[in-house]
């Protein structure tokens, strides 16, 4: 025995009457519900189209540019940034531990290390590092050459002094006028 039949048997004589009225109400309301659903669907679609049109139009861009260039907005932003509230906001952001959590998650992220590997292996970075290394080797070489030339002269002077000879005649400096 179904639930409907059970309810009807419990109501006794009124059972068929109640069943009939329920069916009548359902049949009456069905078109109204359908119209309401169709209207809601049309409204949603209209809303989506309107948002798309606004996003695709140049108007939004113009509005953003005008807003950014506006002296009032800039003054308001400056005032907001200079205010104690902004400082408190930053303090509370750091106190909340949100940033710590963010960085913990960031460092635990595999993609971050993949990105770092990519950057470290990129030709531009390796070229910069090799240039730096060569530049350092260059500096070391210059220093060694400079010092060894000085040591040449020192040793020679000392050796010549030892046997009582005059220092070696140095090569003439190139004439600046030529």
């Amino acid at each position: 025995m179904s639930d409907d039949e059970k309810g009807t048997s419990r109501l006794g004589v009124l059972g068929p009457l109640v069943g009939f009225s329920t069916r009548a109400a359902t049949a009456t309301l069905r078109p109204i519900v359908g119209v309401a659903e169709a209207a809601a669907g049309a409204g949603l679609s209209l809303e989506r189209r309107a948002v798309n049109r606004v996003l695709e139009s140049d108007g939004l861009e113009r509005v953003v540019v005008v807003a950014i260039n506006s002296e009032h907005i800039q003054a308001a932003l400056k005032q907001a940034l200079d205010s104690d509230g902004a400082v408190q906001l930053i303090d509370s952001l750091f106190d909340s531990g949100l940033l710590d959590h963010f960085f913990e998650r960031l460092l635990a992220s595999e993609s971050l290390w993949n990105l770092i590997d990519e950057i470290a292996g990129s030709p531009a970075v390796t070229a910069a590092i090799s240039q730096q290394g060569l530049g350092f080797a260059d500096q070391v070489g210059d220093q060694v050459r400079d010092r060894s030339r000085k040591a040449d002269d020192l040793m020679e002077r000392a050796a010549r002094r030892l046997v009582g000879r005059q220092p070696r005649a140095l090569p003439a400096e190139p004439d600046a006028s030529t």
């Binding site: 260059d138 050459r145 060894s148 030339r149 020679e156």
Partner: protein, 189 residues
């Protein structure tokens, strides 16, 4: 030869102008250059020696033959070292160590030395080192800073300032970049 500058006091005239645009390099710089070369040769010898030892360890060679091979290997290493200097001196005049120290082995008139004189100079270096390096002492007293080996091979060691390795690398990279930025030639009309 009357227009040659007079030799410094206390030194015998050499018959060649001591300064023909060449600036001579002294003992300390030459020692540093030689140390760099020696380090390079030693490194190559070590690598080659380890390689040869590994290969020989795989083969079943009698003990006596091993000794002969070791002697041969030693002789080859000595020959390689001599060739290293001879080839660099008679081609560019600069060994890698000399390149680092920016010096060059040239003849008295500044030209490149011939292979036979490079060999003579190499033998001269060995002979100069034998009597407790006494053959290098003249470098301190000679007007052109010549040692026994230079006197024997009629060479001098002169300054050879040039672009550093970093500058050469930068120039190469710049050239490659410029070549890649140039538009390809258009079709012939």
């Amino acid at each position: 030869m009357s227009d040659l500058p007079a030799a410094p006091v206390g030194e015998a005239p050499t018959g060649v102008a001591p300064d023909q645009g060449l600036q001579y390099v002294g003992l300390a710089t030459r020692v540093v250059s030689f140390v760099v070369d020696a380090a390079l040769i030693t490194l190559v010898d070590i690598v080659v020696g380890i390689g040869a030892a590994l290969i020989l360890s795989l083969l079943h060679i009698p003990h006596q033959l091993r000794t002969v091979l070791a002697v041969l290997g030693g002789a080859l290493l000595v020959l390689g070292s001599i060739l290293y200097f001879v080839i660099f001196w008679c081609t560019t005049g600069q060994t890698p160590g000399a390149r680092v120290m920016q010096l060059r082995v040239v003849t008295a008139d500044g030209s490149r030395i011939k292979p036979r004189w490079a060999v003579v100079r190499c033998i001269g270096v060995l002979l100069a080192a034998l009597p407790l390096f006494a053959g290098f002492v003249p470098i301190l007293y000679d007007a052109r800073r010549r040692g026994f080996q230079d006197w024997l091979a009629r060479t001098v060691v002169a300054e050879a300032p040039g672009p550093s390795i970093a500058e050469v690398t930068r120039a190469k990279r710049r050239a490659i970049r410029e070549a890649s930025e140039q538009p390809p030639p258009g079709p012939p009309e």
